[in-house]
Symmetry: C2
Subunit: 183 residues, 2 copies
DNA sequence: GGGAACAAACCGACTGGTCGGAACTGAAGG
DNA sequence: CCTTCAGTTCCGACCAGTCGGTTTGTTCCC
């Protein structure tokens, strides 16, 4: 068997390159060097660049799911899916995770591979987060959290960590008011 | 002088490539072919790839500014900067403009070049949009519009055009309530 | 004829990917 | 216990093609 950590180490190396140099510089040679293995070793574990990109999205989806479940357990039972999603994005932003850069890397080289991720996102939004009677408001708040999270991918954030946190908290407050509409 | 339209044609070609194939496939050869000129001609107008990327951001900033001014004139006098910004992002999303893909292209190859764009964005947010007493709420709404707009850059939108429009309108409604806080 | 505007061939570095083999493992067989 | 052998994991040289960029025309206009 492959060293179990090796694939993860490779994926982390790939993420580091994207964050530090930009997705355009994500090359197999660079990944191999950064991960401390040879090109042959890299190609053995990921037969093509597409396979590497695909693994990056899988990692993104999986880790995101794990984090969401952890958040769900921490919040009071019965919390809305919207609240869970906002807090998950907040925690992801606060941890110095480079996870989300997989999105921009894959989008740069094989946009089609993002389909899985998109479908996942769309499905959750439409079937869990945006309640029929409150579609616009919930979707707006969801995208606010999304926008806050991804704007960091444009290297060097516009907001400080402190500001981001307080905006996220305001979002959660607004999400808490859901459903209490006049009428 | 260079044909005045040529530079614009080249920039549009670059945007088209980014949208259709991903930023990773934005190469000088591809741009030249798509723009219908030779590589020599391209290099005459943009001495390096960095110069091309830089021009893409300039174009983004300029056109964005123009649109914002047009929106400002259309809205009732005294409309908040937040409202103007949201509507500008909405119109940009509705026009089938590929403008914003400059952001992801530059981020892929020369992230440092995004500084100008970021500073611009940060400055406007902090000095015009987010009023001191309403920082969190205004910032949240701003990022909601931003998130809605950029999520399309991840190819194939999660929302339909119609859904996007109604969410944008809800955002504008929420922005209109600014300042009317209890107390 | 001389510069502006572009074309086209060309260059070395780098790209994704292949290939033969080295180093190690564990099971089989004597 | 030693040998053999197949399988796994990884190495590094190599290949053909592509990359950003340079050089050398060519055309057109003053």
């Amino acid at each position: 068997m492959t060293r179990p950590d090796l694939k993860d180490a490779v994926l982390e190396a790939a993420e580091a390159i994207v964050v530090e140099a930009g997705a355009g510089h994500l090359t197999l040679d660079a990944v191999a060097e950064r991960a401390g293995i040879s090109k042959g070793g890299l190609m053995y574990n990921f037969r093509t660049k597409e396979a590497l990109l695909d693994a990056m999205i899988s990692r993104l989806i999986e880790q995101f799911d794990e984090l969401r479940q952890k958040v769900r357990r921490k919040l009071p039972a019965g919390s809305s899916a919207l609240l869970v999603e906002i807090k998950t994005l907040m925690e992801l932003s606060e941890s110095n995770s480079r996870l989300s850069c997989a999105m921009v890397a894959v989008n740069a080289f094989q946009p089609g591979l993002l389909k899985r991720f998109r479908d996942d996102m769309q499905n959750r939004l439409l079937s869990e987060i945006a309640a029929p009677g409150d579609f616009e408001r919930a979707t707006a708040l969801y995208f606010a959290a999304f926008g806050l999270h991804v704007h960091e991918l444009l290297n060097v954030p516009i907001l400080t960590r402190k500001q981001m946190k307080s905006v996220f908290k305001e979002l959660m407050r607004m999400a808490g008011e859901g459903g209490k509409r006049p009428g």
